[in-house]
């Protein structure tokens, strides 16, 4: 049984300009211990999918479809969601400073999550908090316990935020752009930390990112989202080696390389993502070099085995074009 299962998940927002559909039918299964990366540009619905799955959409958002954690349906079940958040699913956000309550000490925040979920005494929770800080490689953990978030550096804050999410021992950790706000050396350290934690704790990891370097270092499986839908998914190695959807290929081609000509402009995917209006065709056709008349009808996500792609003109799996 999959740990987390999403079936035809839709997320809609009521706004002044009318209803926006941010996620348009998303299917996803995360197995225990697996690392799944969800990639795609800003606004593709990556974060909203996971916020909806954990019942944390903004007040004007609604989710429909099916969300199950360990077989238990969660959507519209606030009591179950409250039980799953923390010990079931942990969440690490992009904004590390913002993720920590400014007026509580590091120790108080770490211990709280454990005390609330596992009824541990304050002293034991503090011991465990210290051990968790060591585990996420925060230097001088004893001193950190008594400090406030504003007294820590950005990288330490993100480590503490990760430790806070790990305290209730979640079976699945969602990391929403965990490295975006950090400088490059700290990014590499955090990626290494996630790799260690997965190996030592055996938890599943869902990684939301637009940093393909992070994906390559961590993920077993990659899901590429565009305009609220999955356009391609597959094992990380295969997907990087031979992307089949033109959008995936574009994302990979846009990665800067060390041997790039520094004077040349960076490669981009021309055009802009579509708005959130209704559209019967492939959402990528306006930016796609391969689009034809068939693309006026939206292609289904289809394929064999673990690799699937939603495209009428998929690239040859054998090699690039």
């Amino acid at each position: 049984m999959a740990l987390l299962e999403l079936e035809s998940l839709h997320v809609r927002f009521r706004t002044r300009e009318g209803e926006l559909e941010a996620v348009r039918g998303m299917d996803l299964a995360v197995e225990p211990g697996e690392c799944v990366a969800i990639v795609g540009e800003s606004g593709s619905g990556k974060s909203q999918t996971l916020l909806a799955a954990t019942g944390m959409l903004a007040a004007n958002g609604t989710a429909s479809g099916r969300v199950a954690f360990e077989g238990e349906s969660l959507l519209g079940q606030p009591a179950r969601l409250a039980r799953v958040r923390g010990p079931g699913i942990g969440y690490v956000f992009q904004d590390a400073l913002g993720s920590l309550t400014p007026h509580l000490t590091v120790g108080a925040q770490l211990a709280e999550a454990l005390a609330v979920h596992h009824g541990v005494s304050a002293a034991d929770a503090r011991t465990e908090a210290r051990r968790m800080l060591e585990r996420v490689q925060v230097p001088d953990p004893d001193a950190r316990l008594g400090q406030y978030p504003h007294e820590l550096s950005g990288g330490t804050r993100q480590r503490v935020a990760i430790a806070a999410a790990l305290m209730p021992q979640p079976r699945l950790l969602i990391a929403d752009e965990p490295t975006t706000a950090l400088d490059v050396t700290v990014q590499a350290q955090v990626v290494a930390l996630f790799r260690d934690l997965r190996a030592s704790l055996g938890m599943a990891l869902v990684l939301v990112t637009h940093d393909l370097g992070v994906v390559a270092g961590l993920a077993d499986r990659v899901i590429v989202m565009y305009a609220g839908r999955i356009v391609e998914e597959g094992p990380a190695v295969a997907l990087f080696a031979s992307p089949r959807h033109p959008y995936t290929a574009g994302l990979l081609a846009a990665l800067p390389r060390l041997d790039d000509d520094l004077a040349a402009p960076m490669r981009t995917i021309p055009g802009v993502p579509p708005g959130a209006g209704r559209d019967a065709g492939c959402a990528f056709r306006y930016r796609c070099g391969h689009a034809s008349g068939r693309c006026e009808v939206r292609p289904d996500l289809a394929g064999s085995g673990s690799s699937r792609v939603a495209c009428h003109h998929p690239r040859d799996p054998g090699g690039g074009s």
């Binding site: 409250a82 956000f93 309550t101 400014p102 609330v116 007294e151």
Partner: protein, 310 residues
């Protein structure tokens, strides 16, 4: 923290000195004097009076004498409340005003903050609308309307509480004036708290706390409330000052021997020493209130604690 408080209190001395000098000069700048009556006094009597009170001396000499008195704790004689020194007037009026004012502010906090939190937690519900409506009403209706209405209902129709009067040491006499003083402050604090809690509820650390599975009520009290109370605390200083100085109407309606009437009468009568006494007392109160507010800030938010840097 103790060292910080002491430093702040020492720092208040020059502030008070400037206030004393400015207030002294301003009272003398105002046209007229304490012995100008509608029926003018014979010039020789007025001259005698002014000599008796030292008003015939040059201003710097007067100021020097006044300050010398202050340093001995002597605020001088009142020009209008003859037979009383200003020190005596303060000694009788200040405890009454302080009791009323602090009780009103305490009541306002105890009622206003929970009301605001409740309204924010049930955003857009009937409770929220009721609190918001009450807040608008409480801010809009002036004290001189509330006071007689309360006296009419609870003093005359229901007969539960005295309409007016002051017997030292009784609580019954305080209820109506304190409620009257507190109502607008309750309304304002409720509105302020509601808005502030709603804002903090949207911050990322609240989302992160919820994502860690912290139950809603605990998120509200531990993660939201301390952050949300910062603007409320900023308002407490001026609110207490306003309640203490603005109690004239309430003191008059309920016949209370507080300080409010001395401030107004003193100013109208050009009772120089009385006005000076009131200004100094209220300035000292403001300084202490601001210090209390700053200490509360530090208690609520570690980022505002003195001397703690990254």
């Amino acid at each position: 923290m103790l060292g910080y408080v002491l430093r702040r209190l020492l720092g208040a001395i020059p502030t008070l000195a400037v206030i004393v000098v400015l207030a002294f000069l301003l009272t003398r700048l105002a046209p007229g004097g304490p012995f100008d009556e509608e029926q003018a006094l014979p010039p020789e009597i007025k001259a005698n009076l002014e000599r008796a009170y030292g008003l015939d001396q040059p201003l710097p000499v007067q100021l020097g004498r006044y300050v010398a008195g202050l340093l001995r704790g002597d605020f001088g004689p009142s020009f209008k409340f003859k037979d009383f020194t200003v020190t005596e007037l303060i000694a009788t009026g200040l405890p009454v005003s302080l009791k009323l004012g602090l009780a009103a502010v305490l009541l306002a906090m105890l009622v206003g903050i929970p009301l605001g939190v409740l309204a924010a937690a049930r955003h857009n519900s009937a409770v929220d609308h009721a609190v918001t409506g009450f807040a608008v009403l409480g801010i809009a209706v002036p004290v001189f309307v509330i006071a007689p209405l309360l006296a009419l209902v609870f003093g005359i129709h229901l007969g539960w509480l005295p309409v007016a009067g002051w017997t030292p040491g009784t609580v019954r006499d305080m209820v109506l004036p304190v409620v009257t003083l507190a109502l607008p402050v309750i309304a304002y604090i409720a509105r302020l708290t509601r808005g502030s809690v709603l804002e903090v509820l949207r911050s990322p650390f609240v989302r992160a706390a919820r994502a860690r599975g912290i139950p809603g009520r605990r998120v509200l009290t531990r993660h939201v409330l301390p952050a949300a109370l910062v603007p409320v605390v900023s308002y407490l200083g001026p609110a207490t000052a306003a309640v203490l100085t603005g109690s004239l109407v309430v003191e008059t309606i309920f016949g209370l021997p507080g300080l409010g009437r001395y401030l107004v009468q003193g100013a109208l009568n050009r009772d120089y020493t009385l006005v000076m006494g009131m200004v100094i007392v209220f300035a000292a109160l403001m300084i202490v209130l601001n210090l209390v507010v700053d200490v509360l800030y530090a208690w609520l938010d570690p980022r505002m604690r003195p001397g703690r840097r990254r």
